[in-house]
């Protein structure tokens, strides 16, 4: 896997929003940008499923919109099959949009109420000039298990349950035979009884179609059913990247720990302690260069005013935290290899100078 070129590669991707009022401009005042996505580096390989987890305001939706091409990055680069998207022509963008499809969070509002299932699925085919509409629609409905398709094809969204609507959303994403699916909290609006069936559908489809998936969520308890690896984001930056099960069992970054410790456990015999984290996340404006979590972090040190490097903590987890490296050798030690930072955790050659805390 590491040898292959990633399908999608984000390299130090940055999206800042410059909020400048008319008054500011008149007075010639400089405003600080909102750093919604700040130097995010992630690789997505073929048939891989990567999660991005974080609370509201962490930048995960901005990241997704940038990936869809709705926002233009303000820095860094995005590569699709090795080609930088900043140099895409119109036709290349169209090609990209056909191959990178999205499933939205809210099946109740993301389907046109006046479109039947057939209309919803036909529109992308028309836009991209594909033929055999009826056959494709029939097949894709079968694939998302809306069986028999004839029974669903002429229904309007209001005639579908929440789970069925989300299946139509999945079908709409699949009908163009994309390489990459961007999934924006696809189960968070669903009842728990249907949640599992959509999760299974997605993981089956990944396997059958060889799809790659970017899965965005705030819910850590369902990601393990979809994602091989997850990135924990806090205020625009990735703070930890670990295999999903690893991070659930043994989170390394203090923020990941806080996030996992706060998940309620459905077991009255299990005595979980309430979170010790105080306050709420700040806005990612003018926070200086240090660790973004420093104002709430229980393990805070003086050094946290400096931007932490990414370090390989234990051969599995990569965290951006001062706890995990020896600052004596800080100046001389090279930052972790960008290639490995981006995704493939293969052989570890640079782990020598890192100090784990446990």
């Amino acid at each position: 896997m590491t040898e292959n070129e990633p399908v999608l590669r984000l390299e130090k991707l940055q999206k800042y929003f410059q909020e400048e009022s008319f008054k500011d401009r008149l007075l010639g005042r400089e405003t600080e940008p909102v750093k919604a996505v700040d130097e995010v580096t992630i690789d997505l390989h073929e048939n891989e499923s990567i999660g991005v987890i974080g609370e509201s305001g962490c930048g995960k939706t901005t990241l997704l919109r940038t990936l869809m091409g709705l926002y233009e990055p303000t820095g860094g680069e995005m590569y699709y099959n090795g080609e930088p998207t900043s140099e895409f022509s119109r036709s290349e963008w169209q090609e990209y949009r056909r191959n990178v499809q999205i499933i939205f969070q809210d099946p109740f509002n993301s389907l046109d109420p006046k479109f039947t299932v057939r209309d919803t699925l036909k529109e992308p085919l028309q836009v991209h000039g594909l033929d055999n509409h009826d056959e494709r629609i029939h097949d894709v409905l079968e694939e998302v298990q809306l069986n028999p398709p004839e029974q669903y094809i002429d229904r309007f969204p209001k005639q579908l349950s929440g789970g069925e609507k989300q299946r139509v959303s999945v079908a709409r994403a699949l009908i163009l035979e994309p390489e990459v699916i961007l999934a924006d909290e696809p189960v968070s609006m669903l009842d728990v009884s249907t949640q599992a069936s959509i999760l299974t559908l997605l993981s089956d489809l990944m396997e059958e179609r060889g799809l790659s998936m970017f899965y965005i969520s705030h819910d850590l308890s369902t990601v393990s059913y979809i994602c091989d690896e997850i990135n924990v984001m806090y205020l625009g930056r990735v703070v930890e990247r670990s295999p999903t099960k690893k991070v659930l069992k043994d989170p390394k970054h203090p923020y990941s720990k806080a996030l996992i410790d706060a998940i309620p456990v459905p077991d009255p015999h299990y005595d979980r302690e309430r979170t010790k984290i105080e306050g709420a996340a700040l806005d990612p404006v003018d926070l200086g260069s240090g660790c973004r979590f420093r104002d709430r972090c229980p393990d805070r040190m003086d050094i946290c005013e400096k931007k932490p490097r990414f370090v390989d903590v234990d051969g599995e987890s990569i965290a951006s935290c001062h706890l995990y490296y020896d600052h004596e050798s800080d100046d001389t030690a090279a930052d972790i290899d960008e290639q490995r930072l981006a995704g493939g955790r293969g052989s570890s050659t640079e782990a020598a100078d890192q100090v784990g805390d446990d």
Binding site: S49, E55, S56, S161, G162, G163, D191, V192, S193, T194, Q195, A196, S197, L199, T200, S203, H218, L220, S221, T222, S224, Y225, I226, C227, D228, T244, K245, L248, A258, L259, I260, A262, I263, P264, V265, P266, D267, P268, H269, Y270, R272, R274, T275, I277, E278, G279, A280
Partner: protein, 349 residues
Amino acid sequence: MSESEPILELEDVTIQYRTEGGMLTAVSDASFTIGQGEYFGLVGESGCGKSTIAKTLIGALDDNGIIESGKIRYKGEEIQDYTEADFNEELRWKEISMIPQGSMNNLDPIEKISDQAIEIAQVHTDMTKSEALERFEELFDVVGIQKSRIDDYPHQFSGGMEQRAIIALALFLNPSLIIADEPTTALDVIMQDQVFKYLDEIREEGEASMVLITHDISLVFESCDDIAIMHSGQVAETGEIETIYDNPRHPYSFMLQGAFPDHRYPDRDLEIIEGHPPENMGEVNRCTFVDRCPYAVEECSEAAPELEQHEGSDVEHRVACFRSEDAHEEHYQNKEMPESGTAEVEGDD
């Protein structure tokens, strides 16, 4: 929990809405009891009737809704026939208060939070302005917000703080019962935990009871004493949380538990409950779970099962299922042979 009189009793309550297609039954013969100082979880999927019950309890049922039959007793007094004026004079805020869904728009955005508290105090009590402010400051302390911030406007608070300010308002006139309708659903997980930390403290003091209405069974298992699980208007099962967790007797209870992800076991298969809750028009004379239940027999569609004490339990544990025993046995037998599970998901591998 104590032997004293229960704070709230629902007895065979049926609530219907007038709709174009006829009478829609949102709650059907629901019964449960909440003790003094107890935290009670009301759990179910969307459309199960839990929010209808919440609204009924503070007298805010929609205009087209009626309590068709049954009794609701608050501290022994029947309140099902109370008028709007009765609710306002007798119950709201000082006896029963509400924490609505945390969706950031429950406070008046153009009024200081302290002014909103004073207004409540002046309508419902004879507290003076300074007494009201003093009391409200104390409560800000209880919910972990600086006292100095009572004069803030709602937009100056984060989502979690705003929800805590609402909790402070709910506690303001020392109510005996708090109805919390999905109090943390719109909040992030860390903020949710912060809010529950304060709800825990209120529980410790034991002065107020709470109905916690949520779709998230894990919140109830962590924070409540008793639970009622509802499906499409009917109470499927009710009892102490440990009992319901260890020994669920209604198929919906054990399937719902199986469907709930637990981050401690990322490999566990999640159960799927096929179908969706039905819309009940008119009188409900069947088990509303029948179309989704793998253990259903003919009897289940012919009559609504009574909510009866489960014979194997020596504590209060009531179940509404004709096939409780067989279903329980079949379900847990299948659990021991994972290969035979047909309705189960394979997680990632």
